[in-house]
Amino acid sequence: MNRTVNFGSRLRYPITIVKILKSPGTPIKKQEVLLTYSFEWTRTVGDHINDKTWEETTTTVVNWESPIDGDLKKWFIKEGDVIKGDCPCMTVKEECPHDVQFSGLCARCGKDMTEVNWAADTRDADRAPISMVHDQTSLTVSKTQAVRTEETLQRRLLQSRKLSLVVDLDQTIIHACIDPTVGEWQRDPTNPNYESVKNVKTFQLEDGPRGVARGCWYYIKMRPGLEEFLQRISTMYELHVYTMGTRAYAQNVARIVDPNRKLFGNRVISRDENGNMYAKSLQRLFPVSTDMVLIIDDRADVWPNNRTNLIKVSPYEFFKGIGDINSSFLPKRQDLLTDAPGPAAANGKSAKEAKEAIPESPAVTQLQLEEQERTLEKQIKERPLQILQEKLDKEEEEAEKASTVSEDGEDTPSSQPHHRHQVLSDDDSELEFLEQHLTQIHKAYYEEYDRRRSRKLELDIDAKPDVGDVMDDVKSKALEGCRIVLSGIIPMGIDVLSSEIGLQLKSFGAQIRTSVSRDVTHLVVSTLRPRTSKVRQAAEIPSIKIVSQEWLSECFCKWKKADEKPYLFDVHPDDRPGGKDSAGTVAATGDTETEMDEGEETDARLTNGKPRRKIRLQNPRLRIVNPQGVSHKLEEDDEDSDDEDDGEIDDDLDDEFSPYEPEDGELSPTERLKGFDWGDVDDELEAFMEESTDEDDEAKTDDDSRRTAGKKRKYATDDEGETGSESDRVDEEGNVLSSKRVRRARQPLGGSSLKNQYAPEGNDDNSSLPTPQVTGEEDGYEDMDEAELEADFMAEFEAAEVEEDEEDQPKVQDPQPTTDLGATTVAATQSAGQQESSLAATAAAGKGSENVSGGEG
């Protein structure tokens, strides 16, 4: 093993080689003097006290010692050379490359690697930095050794036509809990859950949790069909276990899943050896190449670097409400596609108590260990399963009481076990599909490999394809051609495209759209929030299939476009398009009058298909479609997301919104417009359009869908700024961009905040659907520097010669609590510059006249 040795960076260059003491071919030892060199340096000499000093240049001759042991092969230098900087000086043949080390000892020669030597720049222990053994962290290898080992592995796999498969335990192939209720059910054949828990395996951990949970039994339920699945899969894949549980836990589970140790062998890695509490990494096991490795896991977020190799399976939850008992260390999961009230509840306590990923430190780790212990204790004390069963029993009882009066005295649970329903049910078919996918990928992989290698029958390691690419090919056909809009599924404020579901959709070949348009094929709706604006928009376009999120999970599970029929979403009758006008709203026409009608129709659609004006006259609050239930939820959702808004109104509106709903006792803003002369406004606008033709940064490429959506949006929300909408309509054909500008200029008035949709009076029945623009107005006023803004606008108003009495109006209307969003809107206004201001003036002018007319009306 030849090694080239450098002089080292610590020498005082430039140096001159004085004498070489060792000739090539002789053995050298560490710290043995190999050559002498000289260097020049200056120092200050003389009388420091009387300040009579001078610089003196000295030449010093120094010995240079060998940093390593071995046989000297060759010098790159000769006597008399002047060396300017660090450079290689010799080759040495080393006896031992120290490439496998065990706890600071070289496993090849037994030398202590932790010794620090001043002659060497680096420690020997650094020569083997990679830990790649499953059950040990103390054994480390060098890069070359890692490459060698991995190549051997890959050759072996190619020879036997296999791939590696890393398998997660918790909620992927098993579900574990420590709720003692399971044990009781197992011992009680009369229990309704007996059949389900009969096959649950148990074990105790010696070094398990301390405290109450000490010596507790772990109940392990294997996913249905697991044994056969693993048997069949193991002919195509070499299986590894990678879990976030402790080593003892992992081994016990492995023993249950694989009693003969035929499947996993000793290829089990747990969090004890992982070296990271928050993430799993394939590089821990396959440091060089992950070309032949697949992962199955129920969580994608724990594999930050290996997404391409990951097959995400739907989490297996047999013991309801327990979640993953080993997830305390992991960040809260966000990717659930279930119908449960929310991820937190679905994942039980463990998820709630799970921490966001924070930098690892011993203290934090300790904290989390305690956290996990608490979680486990809680499970033992509270027995969530028992509670669930009792609840179910109670419901049963009540139902029974209602139906049969005579059996009143007999409905104690023990006397009528056959009446009781079971909490636990074992109806999971994920593994079936998973097996299909794995077989498919395996087949595709080796087809590709056979195609690539030149000579058949001969092993060619360079011809191996990347399994990630192969999987991409297989997967991307699944939802090809689908253009999908999500509604109510991704929490707002999270980028849809980078969210878990978004990434998955992309990997399946689907395109994600942020807004509803004609070419969208599917709208996926959360059954929890069935009444979003997107649903209303999509209901108008018959080509869009509105499906619930179960459709998505089935697609993800089966890797193909599932039949939409069973999942077709039943749109709320109020959200259905109101007959004749459904088509008209989408087409854009230039005529002002038509546009106007159209706007009204859009509004009318929201009010259950009745003419809007009439309703408005009678009771403006009729616009609330469903004040108590669903819309309330929506509102909360919007509120949450609001923090993420950065004042960019367009972004904001691409997400959900709901029609404006006036406060109690407040007149509808459009009420004032009734006697309004639209002709005036049109004239004004036209004048304005002429004076501002140049485009600003808003000039983005706006596709059709965007425009349509944006327009609808406005119609649904822009009640307050009817003038603004008007301008939009006018230039819908000619100049959409400037209309946008108007909107943006109005932004300080109608900021993007949805925050204060809750009425301060706290009227429950007044649960208004949030309207970004209108409420933002009130909001902005409360928050920003009023004086400054007022001054700004005063100047503009004077220029526009409009009375500015409307300044006071919002404050009177709505003394809302302040939010921090106003500040950003102010900034936006100020940066918008002079032109924008003039636009603002125009918009404000519209408002002003609106107010006047309102006053008149």
Partner: protein, 171 residues
């Protein structure tokens, strides 16, 4: 190599144990504290007896009594070149780990005879020469120590099975 070694240890006793059987308690505590401990160069395997228990001295401040105990113990000090019998714990492509009592050893592939190779297809994976030698977990094996390294309370060693009479022990 095993030695009978005279050692000294300081035992502290809580005041609640003060009484007639104090010496027994001190001995019991000594055994509990010291048996099986790695003392740097050697392991204390078993404590034979105590030959000198000093008078107790009350520590100011907390009231604990301190006894200096002289005792005789069997200790094991592994030496370089010593041959030990161990049990294989785990096998990986780079070598195998085995345990000689309290001492954990690693034997790398380069420390094995040429004909022994790693067989990953076996389950569990093993080292074998395709004849009488099969090294898998729980195999009894004779290993020669190459070198040791100690830290506080811990000792590791590198071993070899390259040599006469080393390797698998026939059961």
């Amino acid at each position: 190599m095993f030695f009978l070694h005279n050692l000294e240890h300081t035992v502290t006793l809580h005041p609640s144990y003060f009484g007639r059987n104090m010496h027994e308690l001190v001995t019991a505590k000594l055994v509990k504290d010291m048996e099986g401990v790695c003392m740097g160069d050697y392991f204390i395997i078993a404590i034979m007896d105590t030959f000198d228990v000093s008078e107790g001295r009350i520590l100011p401040g907390n009231g604990l009594a301190e006894f200096t105990v002289g005792y005789r113990a069997v200790v094991w000090r592994p030496f370089k070149g010593e041959v030990v019998d161990c049990v294989v714990v785990s096998v990986n492509p780079h070598g195998f780990f085995c345990q000689a009592g309290p001492l954990r050893l690693f034997v790398s592939t380069s420390m094995m005879p040429e004909e022994i190779h790693y067989d990953a297809n076996a389950s569990p994976p093993q080292f074998t020469n395709n004849a009488d030698m099969v090294i898998e977990p729980n195999t009894h094996i004779r290993v020669k120590l190459i070198n040791m390294r100690t830290e506080v309370g811990e000792m590791w060693a590198i071993g070899t099975i390259n040599g006469d009479f080393l390797g698998c022990l026939q059961a």
